[in-house]
């Protein structure tokens, strides 16, 4: 740890509580558990004190993810926010239906300067398929409440490839999102992960429509880029200067500390993953011990491979010197010949088509 002591500038805090677990969700979440929010937040603050030595004096970013962080009881949430160190960018994830004028003010007075809203769609029936509790008008109202509280950096999370989603519905979603003039948009393909309730219910339908939906990603990119957004990461778009600086830290291979159940940290060659169980986490920290966690040791070559995989997701060139032996030279000329990537200065950047095929290109390039 000493190698990175006092250097880490990105902090992730996991707040797992949700009002309801959506069928497609595979995050570490806990439904309800109102009586336990306070105890959990106390434990998180203990973990932060325990690990805090590795953080830089001034952080670049803090990200509160979930779960639904804004579902956390207001008192507990405010206590946590107040205890966090200063950072240039402090993001909180929120579900639109949890946003009220008073929540917006609570966030604002506690130094939160960016909110990422889990909108997913503006279509009532698609929201029902996703088992989301918010209605389209909740998203609009949430954005207005946040604007009223002074937020000038709002991100919308959206999904494409929802079972039954037509091209027209996709286009309508993009249009509705653009009408709210967010500074940032994350547009994900719905991933039906094996074993989830959602895949059980909709897997066949998704397989059937896979061909029809093949072009959806291209449409999304085209529409957002056409509206002046920069496609700066595979699934992320922003107005000038409004990248998600926290996430950019991951993609640039920076170290980060994660606290809370299920949270992951990458510190030099060590990757930690806290166990997902609430009780064990709270109990360990109550005794002043580190929470139960898995530790994965990375070697330099693995780090280079990760750097390659993450770096190629960005629109800025990946310095080849940083990935070195992780790239197979013959494959590099192959993908260049196919027009999937080009060298820019000392770096490598994928073409648009290369970005749509990002995983295949990465696998091709990987030595």
């Amino acid at each position: 740890m000493s190698a990175v002591g006092g250097q880490v500038r990105h902090l992730y805090v996991h707040l797992p509580f949700c009002a309801h677990r959506c069928g497609y969700c595979d995050f570490v979440t806990l439904v309800g558990r109102h009586g336990e929010h306070g105890a959990y937040v106390d434990a998180v603050m203990r973990e932060l004190r325990l690990e805090g030595g590795i953080l830089a004096p001034r952080l670049e970013t803090i990200f509160l993810g979930g779960g639904t962080p804004t579902f956390t009881e207001a008192g507990a949430l405010e206590g946590l926010l107040a205890s966090l160190p200063d950072a240039d960018e402090v993001t909180v994830e929120a579900n639109p239906e949890t946003v009220t004028p008073s929540l917006a003010r609570l966030l604002s007075r506690n130094r939160v300067n960016r909110v990422s809203l889990g909108a997913q769609s503006f279509n009532t029936s698609l929201l029902a398929v996703l088992e989301r509790r918010c209605r389209p008008e909740d998203v609009r109202r949430a954005v207005h409440d946040l604007r009223d509280a002074g937020f000038d950096n709002i991100s919308l999370d959206l999904l494409y490839g929802i079972p039954g989603q037509s091209t027209a519905e996709l286009e309508a979603d993009v249009e509705s999102a653009l009408a709210l003039a967010p500074e940032h948009v994350s547009y994900y393909e719905l991933e039906a992960k094996p074993g989830t309730r959602f895949t059980h219910a909709h897997g066949e339908e998704l397989a059937r429509q896979a061909d029809a939906m093949e072009g959806y990603f291209e449409r999304v990119v085209e529409a957002l880029v056409g509206a002046g957004y920069r496609w700066y990461e595979t699934a992320n778009f922003c107005l000038p200067g409004r990248e998600a600086r926290h996430n950019l830290g991951y993609w640039l291979g920076r170290d980060y500390l994660g606290v809370g159940i299920g949270a992951v940290s990458t510190l030099g060659l060590e990757r930690r993953r806290n166990a997902p169980k609430l009780a064990g986490y709270v109990a360990a920290l109550a005794r002043g011990l580190a929470p139960p966690r898995e530790i994965e040791t990375l070697d330099e070559e693995t780090k280079r491979r990760e750097r390659l995989m993450l770096g190629l997701r960005l629109d800025r060139p990946l310095p080849l010197a940083a990935v070195g032996s992780a790239v197979e030279p013959a494959a590099l000329s192959r993908v260049e010949r196919l027009g999937l990537a080009e060298r820019r200065g000392d770096g490598l950047v994928l073409s648009d088509r290369g970005r749509f095929l990002g995983d295949a290109v990465t696998a091709e390039l990987m030595a």
Binding site: Y12, E218, V264, T302, R305, F356, D359
Partner: protein, 595 residues
């Protein structure tokens, strides 16, 4: 034993008509084996022979019956092994022709009867399975009597299963089959009708002594090949090897040669004493040539040395197996193998997979072509990828095919044969219900999916057999398959000009289905020379990227990409295109080498 006390005979029958069961019963009735020693298909020692109920190697066993020495020579019944069968028949004076009482005469019954007649054998007709509820012994007896010009009353009716009538068969052998002729005093002459390889003692020749007398420790000469060796041991089978001080005129037995290479002693050759040579060899030796060829490749290219060793070992017991190394861009290192026919090919493949535990990829089988190039050069081509692009003329092997089928399926057989460029020769009613059809067909049309088609179009009621009758000119072309412009050598085929389009189309369609989409459009083409006859495009993937990747996902995501990378490494690289092994398997399967 004096010649007049010896009878040499074989049993010939269509598959499943009861040849091996009758042999088993003969061993039992003559007390050659006790009930306790008995098991089914005693003479078929290979696992594959027992399982498929066929005989692949000839065997010879000596039994005693009423003061006579009877030598039973068990032969493979199938056309692929006609050469071995005819050598085995040459070692006999008579044959039992066994016909199933429920099924009557079938195609191999005919082929075997004709072979026996050609070899001047006394035929003892036997109707078997008279105990079956569906048996019609009278009808079967009438058919077989008619076939060989015998009285129906002289047909022996038996059930090899229950043993009923088996003693009558033995009596008929003694009474009807002539004793061997031969000169016990002349220089020795023995016909090699089969051979086997014993890993400790080398090549064991199965022989019928015609003249003279053979003893251990003599120096012998194989007259056609010029090979000499000293006999280590000789004797007869009972059914184990039983050593004897002599083997003399008329007798059947074995000679342990000590030779370490089966190719030095070929079936059909004549053994004589090196010091007192016979003037003339026995008739009948000819070099057998493979008729069907295919490439054999290990599915896992690391198994190439194992495949090579396995082929070497197999060849020790099967001199007719031909192989030479072949390198394919698409499939890597393997062997081009030549077989006596489709069954032979299938047996070799199965033995390689089972006895040597190999996973094989077998290319579409093809026949030998005699090509005259534009330059006037004549070449024999065994591999489509060696087929010259510019040819003057091509000749292909033809067969005379006999099919026996219930009359309601005659139309279906004719239609199939016409589709396969068959030329009708003649048709004859064997009974009111059953018809014999004779066609001339290119052998190349039989190796492609013919058996499956015949079976399905006649609901399994047809029996089929053939003889290779020579080469005839044909309008044959080479069809190449290309992926993104690069030829896939393993998929080239030689076909008649008229079916080139259909076969090319089928290959292209199948490849398009089987090859996963790549990062670029992949044209799949079939071509004759530079002329494209079929084309499809495997459209490029438009998307292959997981949308989400944040701090917690990095390990999972990295593992996914590493797995994707591993998957790529398992693919065969054809030019720029990655083709999974399964795609080749699926496409080659379409070429239907199975029966």
């Amino acid at each position: 034993m004096s010649l007049d006390r010896i009878r040499n005979f074989s049993i010939v029958a269509h598959i499943d008509h009861g040849k091996s069961t009758l042999a088993d019963r003969i061993l039992e009735v003559t007390s050659t084996l006790t009930k306790r020693e008995m098991r089914e298909q005693v003479l078929d020692s290979m696992e594959l022979e027992r399982e498929r109920g066929i005989t692949i190697k000839a065997q010879a066993v000596r039994v005693e019956w009423k003061g006579h020495q009877l030598n039973l020579i068990d032969t493979p019944g199938h056309v692929d092994f006609t050469y071995e069968v005819s050598r085995a028949l040459q070692a006999c004076e008579g044959a039992l022709l066994v016909v199933d009482a429920a099924q009557g005469i079938q195609a191999q019954t005919l082929a075997n009867a004709y072979l026996a007649i050609e070899n001047d054998l006394e035929i003892v007709p036997v109707v078997n399975k008279i105990d079956l509820p569906s048996a019609d012994p009278d009808a079967a007896a009438a058919e077989v009597a008619d076939l060989i010009g015998e009285e129906p009353e002289r047909v022996v009716r038996i059930s090899a299963k229950t043993g009923a009538g088996v003693e009558d068969v033995l009596d008929a052998i003694v009474e009807r089959i002539p004793a061997p002729a031969g000169d016990p005093e002349a220089p020795g002459r023995a016909l090699v009708f089969d051979s086997a390889y014993d890993q400790y003692r080398g090549v064991v020749a199965f022989v019928r002594v015609v003249d003279g007398e053979f003893r251990p420790r003599e120096r012998l000469l194989a007259m056609a090949q010029g090979t000499t060796f000293e006999t280590e041991e000789l004797g007869f089978f009972s059914p184990e090897r039983t050593p004897m001080p002599t083997l003399s005129a008329g007798e059947v037995g074995y000679v342990i040669t000590g030779l370490k290479d089966v190719s030095r002693l070929r079936v059909g050759d004549t053994l004589t004493q090196d010091a007192r040579r016979a003037a003339e060899p026995l008739p009948g030796y000819k070099d057998v040539k493979p008729t069907v060829f295919a490439g054999l490749f290990p599915t896992d290219s690391d198994e190439y040395p194992e495949l090579r060793d396995a082929l070497e070992k197999l060849k020790l017991n099967d001199a007719s197996l031909f192989y030479e190394p072949e390198t394919s861009q698409a499939l890597g290192f393997g062997f081009r193998c030549g077989f006596l026919g489709l069954l032979h090919m299938e047996i070799v493949r199965e033995r390689l997979e089972r006895e040597f535990d190999l996973d094989l990829l077998v290319t579409a089988p093809n026949v030998a072509y005699r090509v005259t190039t534009k330059a006037g050069e004549e070449v024999e081509v065994h591999n489509p990828s060696d087929f010259p692009r510019e040819v003057e003329t091509v000749a292909e092997p033809y067969i005379r095919a006999t099919t026996i089928v219930p009359k309601e399926h005659v139309g279906a057989v004719m239609e199939l044969n016409n589709e396969r460029r068959g030329r009708f020769d003649h048709m004859e009613y064997l009974s009111e219900e059953r018809v014999l059809l004779t066609y001339d067909l290119p052998l190349g049309e039989i190796v492609y999916d013919y058996y499956d088609q015949l079976k399905s179009r006649t609901k399994g009621y047809a029996s089929f057999d053939y003889d290779v009758v020579g080469f005839r000119p044909g309008e044959l072309v080479r069809v190449d398959v290309m992926l993104a412009g690069d030829p896939v050598d393993a998929l080239s085929i030689i076909v008649h000009r008229d079916s080139a389009y259909g076969r090319g189309r089928a290959l292209v369609d199948r490849l398009r289905e089987e090859i996963p989409r790549q990062m670029f459009d992949v044209p799949v083409q079939a071509a004759i020379g530079s002329r494209i006859i079929a084309r499809e495009t495997i459209k490029a993937k438009r998307k292959d990227v997981l949308a989400k990747c944040y701090g917690g996902d990095i390990t999972r995501k990295r593992k996914l990409i590493e797995r994707q990378k591993k998957g790529k490494k398992r693919m065969k690289q054809v030019g720029t295109v990655e083709v999974p092994q399964e795609a080749f398997l699926a496409v080659l399967d379409l070429n239907g080498e199975r029966r």
